[in-house]
């Protein structure tokens, strides 16, 4: 078996299929390293998102390989030999599995180049997520081989791939949309698909329960593929379907509803810089701390210079972004007045903070008038009020943004002039009032800066 496996690895299409998968996967990964740089879990989930292309590719590759015997017309010759069919297909199936697992692992390894230098948090779940992804490719390859053997036609491989996209990608998509429209949690059946097309927030992980049930189901699916491939008689074919049916029946009730995302307290743990006013970021963003500490302290200093009761420490906002929120996420603690809670800066391609465009300091200053109230987006007056407040801190008129209308520009400029025209004590009183209102989840104070009636 060892020598035959080597022959199959050398001569069969298995390595070709795996190489194609590797090139596509690594290419896609490298083309957008911002998506995972410095974060293990994001790297693992990027790989699982890519399965939308790789999984059908493994199906097609398997089908191509499964059709080989019919294409080469070896049936006559092999029928006269003693080795049973299931033993004969084993090295071919093993070659495909080895090649696909190697390709998927290599994609992950390529990604680690952008993760290892800056990653401060290594969740073991990221390895589990990758392992489940590799297993899903094996299952796809073996099921593809079985189908390619059963229907040895040229169109089988592409047709199977399209079916794979539909079943593993489009169907879950459709189910998710339906669940959202009906305001239900996403059904557990979604997790039968190994594809995590919609990603994950930095503060999220995939629970062991999801990984284990998926492993059970995908291993059962792989077993069915292999048994179908090795089945020599009708009864063998009927028995071969059993593992997938049983595996699905056992795994499905154990899978949680609401999708694969779960809050990861480990990722959200704080890492602080105490040299000066305290600045903290989440552990998963530890690499950003050196870049964040400077601007954060600058912002704290500017606030304490002008704003009575200004915050004395800055802490990263660790709330999951709204697009990734699931019902199970913990409700946020209200932000205390002494703490500036800011959103982490954009992460660049290498895993360090991308501060280009000077957006970060205004963003930090603005955060003094921000509270997590769990509502929808702020109305425009509140947003512009915050712009005026920020400008007041810096002492310079607000720089108009490209997307503001002329009326908005005039409104903001007018509001700023009106504010700085007041006596300094009154200015301070208004800003403190606006902040107290904002932290108490009222937007009156900020709106009043824009000329709304002050109650």
């Amino acid at each position: 078996m060892g020598r035959v496996l080597r022959i199959e690895l050398r001569r069969s299409a298995a390595v070709g299929v795996a190489l194609l998968a590797l090139v596509i996967g690594a290419g896609l990964l490298v083309s957008y390293t911002e998506g995972f740089s410095g974060r293990w879990m994001q790297l693992a989930v990027s790989g699982r998102g890519m399965l939308l292309a790789l999984w059908p590719l493994a199906l097609a590759g398997g089908a191509w390989l499964g059709r080989r015997d019919a294409r080469s017309r070896v049936g006559e010759l092999f029928a006269s030999t003693g080795r049973p069919r299931w033993q004969r297909v084993l090295p071919t199936a093993a070659a495909l599995a080895v090649a696909l697992v190697a390709a998927y692992t290599l994609i992950f390894v390529v990604g680690t180049v952008w993760v290892v230098p800056t990653a401060g948090y290594f969740p073991a779940a990221s390895v589990a997520v990758t392992a489940v992804g590799a297993l899903s490719l094996v299952a796809a390859g073996w099921v593809g081989m079985a189908v390619g053997r059963a229907v040895p036609r040229l169109v089988t491989a592409p047709a199977l791939a399209v079916a794979g996209v539909a079943v593993a990608g489009l169907l879950p998509d459709w189910m998710t949309v339906n669940a959202v429209v009906a305001d239900r949690p996403a059904p557990a059946a979604l997790l039968l698909s190994p594809v995590y097309a919609s990603g994950l927030d930095d503060f999220q992980t995939v629970t062991a329960r999801v990984n284990l049930t998926q492993t059970l189901w995908l291993a059962a699916l792989a077993a069915t593929g292999l048994l179908l491939l090795g089945a020599a008689r009708r009864r063998g074919v009927a028995l071969a379907v059993l593992p997938a049916v049983l595996g699905g029946a056992v795994a499905l009730p154990l899978m949680p509803t609401g999708g694969y995302r779960a809050y990861d307290p480990g990722a959200a743990e704080l890492v602080c810089d105490d040299a000066g006013p305290q600045v903290c970021v989440a552990r998963v963003h530890a690499a950003l701390l050196p870049d964040v500490a400077g601007p954060a302290r600058q912002a704290l200093a500017m606030m304490s210079a002008k704003l009575p009761g200004a915050p004395t420490r800055a802490v990263e906002d660790r709330r999951v972004e709204s697009w990734a929120r699931s019902g199970a996420d913990p409700a946020p603690d209200p932000r205390p007045a002494d703490t500036l809670v800011f959103e982490a800066p954009v992460i660049g391609p290498s895993g360090r903070a991308d501060l280009s465009g000077d957006y970060f300091l205004p963003h930090l200053l603005e955060a003094a008038w921000r509270q997590d109230c769990g509502d929808g987006p702020d109305d425009s007056d509140t947003r512009f009020g915050r712009v005026v407040a920020t400008a007041w801190l810096t002492g310079e008129p607000p720089a108009p943004q490209d997307w503001w209308t002329p009326e908005e520009r005039a409104g903001v400029a007018g509001a700023y002039q009106a504010l700085v025209g007041l006596p300094p004590a009154e200015q301070q009183r208004r800003m403190v009032a606006a902040r107290d209102d904002a932290l108490a989840c009222r937007d009156d104070g900020l709106r009043s800066l824009m000329g709304e009636d002050v109650p």
């Binding site: 194609l20 596509i24 896609l28 957008y32 998102g49 890519m50 939308l52 292309a53 059908p56 590719l57 097609a60 294409r71 080469s72 017309r73 036609r153 040229l154 169109v155 491989a157 592409p158 047709a159 791939a161 399209v162 996209v165 539909a166 990608g169 459709w174 097309a197 919609s198």
Partner: protein
């Protein structure tokens, strides 16, 4: 008419036609029943067209290309006509849907993607043989359906994901045109590579 029938049978065109039509019908039916959308977008169009093209890929080579090659007919013309008729046969059922409630839209995307994918397949058939000609269109289509691949303003991305760019994107249209013309030219001039005598198993 008789030789035409024989030719179509020898290339198994009937099967290809059945598969491509059935694919379009199935996609149309699924969207009609399970979706409120009236439009099958560029992703759906690409997957449908790619499968239809793959079905026709099997007809690009005969049972024995070397033997075919010795026939004293004008192969280049026949190959070009074969390819163009295949394109027509793929587009026809998709066009038919424009009179129904669920449509493969927009028309220019349907035409662009069919031309590009069929050209890519023909190019693959000329270089690797009909048996492997589906690999490149399948791979490109799979990359295009990824959720983070979409309309873009960067020309390089527009070319890489030409299948899902909106109608009228110059780079995407140019990419499809280049594929179509190169594929048509290569396949018309060379046809499938003549396999060595040892490997004459037909690929259907």
């Amino acid at each position: 008419m008789r030789w035409l029938r024989l030719y179509l049978r020898s290339r198994r065109v009937g099967l290809a036609l059945a598969i491509s039509t059935a694919t379009a019908a199935l996609v149309w039916l699924l969207v009609l029943v399970y979706s409120d959308a009236g439009t099958i977008d560029a992703r759906g169009v690409s997957l449908t067209v790619m499968l239809a093209v793959a079905a026709f890929a099997a007809t690009l080579g005969g049972a024995d290309d070397a033997l075919d090659h010795t026939a004293s007919i004008n192969w280049p013309v026949r190959r070009a006509v074969h390819l163009l008729l295949a394109a027509a046969a793929i587009v026809a059922p998709l066009l038919l849907t424009t009179v129904t409630d669920v449509r493969f839209e927009p028309l220019t995307v349907v035409l662009r993607n069919t031309a590009g994918l069929l050209g890519l397949t023909a190019l693959g058939a000329a270089l690797l043989g009909a048996a492997r000609s589906w690999i490149a269109p399948l791979t490109w289509t799979l990359i295009s359906v990824l959720p983070f691949v979409g309309p873009s303003t960067k020309p390089a991305t527009q070319v890489a994901s030409w299948l899902v760019q909106p109608a009228g994107t110059t780079a995407a249209t140019a990419c499809a045109a280049v594929l179509a013309v190169t594929g048509l030219a290569a396949y018309t001039m060379w046809g499938c590579p003549r396999r060595p005598a040892a490997e004459t198993a037909p690929d259907h």
